[in-house]
């Protein structure tokens, strides 16, 4: 009874939600907006690539790569948006045999499992819940029994979570397996909303939206959640429309025969992505259900967030370099593009580095990539930027929980830019083939690491301040007067970019500052 009260939260946030349907006029409007946006990009590009805009050719190439890589991603995003589809709900037949796998590792909090297992018990469609446990903690076995779950003692299997899943597959025989992350609290209708799609024999896995119940816990939690809203909203819905929706670690339901056809669940830091690329390459189809049927925890302290980002960056690059080429020929055209876009997402670390370096390079050595006239730049860039924002906001009508998720997502953007060096490190580790040990995403806040976590943003800010100081000194005492008077605008505009960079860094700094002192983790 007491346990039931602990999880049985009937507050409004734990209710089932489905993204708003797509109407005809919305499709037409999206088509028109995308048409205008592409035209604006052509307008911008025709102006951008002119010899008279070039100052230092090498830097211009770098700046062009960074800028047009971003625009290219926007293009693909719009194409995806154009293909948004929601699957028609299908009532599942009675009598399917279904397993729910949830894994536990040493150090994960007991209370979390109590909550999740109790909620799993309440899922309406008949199923068996398995706790895949390597904690060697007798409390966990007892908890499983109490919650009517089967306890599987799985100690010492390599590959962490995926290793345990594969071993559990051998010991069980259900036809459908829902892999439920232990921090996620499923709603009673979970299985009813996904199992029906398996009546099509070609469907290998069904993914649902991931949503969170703790975004209000901290700045980081809010930012991390903001980074996911659009993905589980319009992006995955578009991917469903092009047959490219992927499995995302938690809350994916697999057909046993599909998993067995590829030798079990994929292993690695991006094991979910490995699994889905292999299933797609094996000809299995995927379904994305734009519904919230569970809510979990999003990292709420900077350390866990960055660890998670490093893990993903390393893992996703690994998929790009190793799994993607192997699967390439067997993927559909849409899948080829889609997995490339996912695989290259974290290259944003590289483009951030380029953007950061440009003002520094100008102020240190006087080289700048472009000699553009501000008025012309604005005239050609603003239509594209404006349309990008309009489309972004318009597509938010298909978020799974628009009331909570709609917005400019500035926290998410700040923290994404603030994590650039982590993305780069992930790329570097993947290129060198250096393993990152499997780090489970922390489910509690960690504190007291201010200096370690703020080293990078502080470095950027101090470097910027130092550069501005040196620039002032040189202009006052050393540089030729004519040069000083002529370069006032250019110099202080570049110094302005340094300030903007510092503001971008301040998001991560603020997050680290909030985590500076130890607080008791909430149970």
């Amino acid at each position: 009874m007491s346990l039931k009260r602990a999880w049985a939260d009937d507050s409004e946030i734990f209710r089932h939600r489905r993204a708003a349907p797509i109407r005809m006029w919305e499709r037409v409007l999206i088509a028109v907006l995308i048409f205008l946006a592409i035209q604006s990009a052509v307008y911008f590009g025709a102006w951008w690539f002119q010899a008279r805009n070039v100052s230092s050719p090498a830097l211009f190439v770098l700046l062009s790569i960074a800028t047009w890589y971003g625009i290219f991603r926007m293009f693909v995003g719009w194409y995806n948006l154009f293909h948004i589809e929601h699957p028609e709900p299908v009532e599942p037949p009675e009598g399917l045999s279904v397993a729910i796998f949830t894994t536990s590792s040493p150090g994960e909090p007991y209370a979390m499992f109590a909550r999740t297992l109790a909620a799993a018990r309440e899922i309406r469609y008949p199923h068996t819940t398995y706790l895949l446990d390597d904690t060697r903690d007798p409390r966990f076995a007892a908890l499983a029994e109490e919650m009517g779950a089967v306890h599987l003692e799985l100690v010492g299997y390599p590959g962490a979570k995926a290793g345990k899943i594969n071993e559990a597959l051998k010991r069980t025989n259900e036809d459908f397996i829902l892999v439920l992350d232990p921090d996620h609290i499923p709603f009673p209708e979970f299985l009813d909303r996904v199992l029906g799609y398996f009546s099509r024999e070609s469907v290998g896995f069904v993914q649902v939206a991931q949503a969170y119940h703790n975004p209000d816990e901290s700045f980081v939690a809010r930012a991390a959640a903001e980074q996911t809203y659009t993905f589980y909203g319009p992006i995955m819905q578009g991917m469903h429309g092009t047959g490219t929706s992927v499995a995302i670690g938690a809350n994916c339901t697999f057909r046993r025969t599909a998993l067995e056809s590829i030798g079990g669940h994929g292993i690695g830091l991006a094991e979910d992505l490995v699994t889905s690329i292999r299933l797609h390459a094996g000809g299995w189809e995927s379904v994305y259900v734009p519904e919230i049927v569970s809510r979990g925890l999003v990292p709420s302290d900077l350390g866990s967030f960055l660890k998670q980002q490093l893990k993903w960056s390393r893992g996703v690059h690994d998929v790009l370099f190793h799994e993607y080429p192997k699967a390439f020929l067997r993927l559909s055209l849409h899948q080829k593009v889609s997995y490339f876009m996912i695989g290259s997402y974290y290259l944003v670390g590289l483009t951030s580095l380029i953007y950061f370096s440009i003002p520094l390079l100008y102020l240190w050595i006087g080289e700048q990539p472009a000699a553009m006239i501000l008025a012309e730049y604005l005239e050609h860039a603003i239509p594209l930027a404006l349309l990008g924002l309009v489309i972004y906001r318009f597509s938010q009508r298909w978020l799974c929980d628009p009331a909570r998720e709609r917005g400019w997502h500035w926290r998410g953007t700040l923290l994404k830019i603030g994590a650039w060096n982590v993305f780069l490190r992930g790329l570097w580790l993947a290129l060198r083939g250096i393993e990152v040990p499997y780090i489970p995403t922390a489910k509690e806040r960690k504190f007291g690491e201010f200096w370690r976590l703020s080293r990078m943003p502080l470095t950027v800010i101090v470097l910027s301040a130092l550069t501005v100081g040196i620039v002032i000194y040189r202009r006052l005492f050393i540089l030729d007067e004519t040069l000083v008077r002529i370069t006032t605008e250019a110099t202080w505009a570049m110094a302005g970019f340094l300030i903007i960079n510092s503001i971008f860094m301040s998001g991560r700094l603020w997050a680290a500052w909030q985590d500076r002192e130890h607080r008791e983790p909430e149970e």
């Binding site: 088509a31 028109v32 048409f35 205008l36 035209q39 604006s40 307008y43 000699a371 006239i373 501000l374 008025a375 012309e376 604005l378 005239e379 050609h380 603003i382 239509p383 404006l386 202009r475 006052l476 005492f477 030729d480 007067e481 004519t482 040069l483 000083v484 008077r485 002529i486 370069t487 006032t488 605008e489 202080w492």
Partner: protein, 388 residues
């Protein structure tokens, strides 16, 4: 849905899309442009204040600023009347790299141990932002303590046909362009330019449509059906607009090509001209049409005619290449002649272009500094003449 109906729907949808797209681009682009124009004066104001603050700090911490060096000449350089009839020869310089790259200009000044009271640059007509009144440039020159000389070139094809529907198409525009200016077809451009020049308030030398009598060079030349009367009428109209806008700070430099015949027929009149400008560029032996000519050889024949206008003369472009002769001797002779033979010349602007490609396939080097002996001689002459 029949294929025909589908085809028709797609056809009309595409048409509508294109129409919406074109309207969107044109509308938004012009909205952004006009918003920018409104914001531009504020941006200018901000950068002015920033530059003023920086300049104030600079003069506080440095002993000899360029402006301080030119301080003794301040009374002359601030007065339009004095600049129309200067007590001493006024020297100036044009540098090809300026203002994007100041190395050439500062090198020239340090080699000559001199700070030029006049800084010359070129500005073309057109719709682009950098073709409007070069406020930032003249402000900077003013802060450096000098007076700007703007060569103002009516490249009428640089106006956007979409936005300027009253103008003929670009291919038809160059023919008779001076008559069109005289008729007022380009007042839309001249008026705001004149207004901005008036707002600057400090003196500006303006050399409009130079070398108008040379049929081989610029589109406003006689090869495009521009007759002397057209030039005079265009000049007067432009001058008139400047007067109406109150741009009395502008000093007018009429500057024909003196090696081409009949330049005197292009003279717009005593009441609208303040200076007579001439170009003295010795191309040496780089081209079939050129030989090593001294200043005297270039100027001698035209000088009596030019003198008849009874205006002070300005060598707006003075320079020699090193190809085919001795630069030191050329400058020695030039300075001697300027002082003793051509007393009406009251201003000389050095043409310090390091890589000039306007007249040849390979870049020509007009810098004095390429010959240290010539530079040393000119430095001493400048010191001597300014001490007088």
């Amino acid at each position: 849905v029949t294929p025909k109906r589908l085809y028709l729907t797609a056809f009309f949808a595409l048409g509508w899309l294109l129409a919406i797209g074109v309207a969107f681009q044109l509308g938004l682009a012009s909205a952004v442009a006009s918003a920018y124009r409104r914001a531009a004066s504020k941006l200018d104001w901000i950068s002015q204040r920033a530059s003023d603050a920086e300049g104030a700090a600079l003069t506080r911490v440095r002993q000899n600023s360029r402006r301080d060096y030119l301080e003794p000449m301040r009374p002359v350089l601030q007065s339009v009347d004095a600049l129309k009839n200067p007590p001493k020869i006024l020297f100036g310089a044009y540098d090809g790299g300026f203002p994007n790259n100041t190395t050439g200009f500062t090198t020239l000044e340090s080699q000559l141990r001199y700070r030029f009271p006049i800084i010359s640059f070129y500005s073309a007509w057109g719709d682009k932002p950098d073709q409007q009144f070069p406020l930032r440039m003249v402000e900077t020159i003013d802060r450096l303590g000098s007076v700007p000389l703007i060569t103002w070139e009516p490249w009428v094809t640089d106006f956007d046909s979409r936005a300027r529907t009253n103008l003929p198409s670009k291919t038809d525009r160059e023919y008779g362009s001076l008559a069109a200016i005289a008729k007022g077809e380009y007042d839309f451009y001249v008026s705001p330019w004149a207004e901005a020049a008036a707002q600057f308030r400090k003196p500006i030398f303006l050399r409009f449509a130079h070398e108008m009598n040379d049929p081989y060079r610029y589109p406003w030349g006689p090869q495009n059906g521009n007759r002397p009367d057209d030039f005079i009428a265009a000049w007067r109209r432009v001058h008139d607009i400047f007067q109406k806008k109150g741009a009395t700070n502008v000093i007018w430099v009429w500057s024909p090509h003196i090696s081409m015949p009949w330049f005197e027929y292009y003279y717009p009149g005593d009441h609208v001209v303040d200076w007579v400008g001439i170009g003295i560029l010795n191309y040496g032996n780089v081209a079939s049409w050129s030989r090593w000519w001294s200043l005297h050889q270039i100027l001698d024949k035209a000088y009596p005619t030019l003198s008849k206008f009874n205006k002070p003369m300005m060598v707006v472009e003075l320079g020699t290449l090193a190809n085919g002769g001795d630069m030191l001797a050329w400058y020695q002779q030039a300075f001697y002649q300027l002082e003793h033979t051509y007393g009406r010349i009251r201003s000389v602007i050095f043409f310090n272009q390091r890589a000039d490609v306007t007249m040849s396939a390979y870049p020509l080097n007009w810098t004095i500094g390429q010959d240290p002996r010539a530079a040393e001689f000119v430095a001493k002459e400048l010191a001597r003449l300014s001490a007088q």
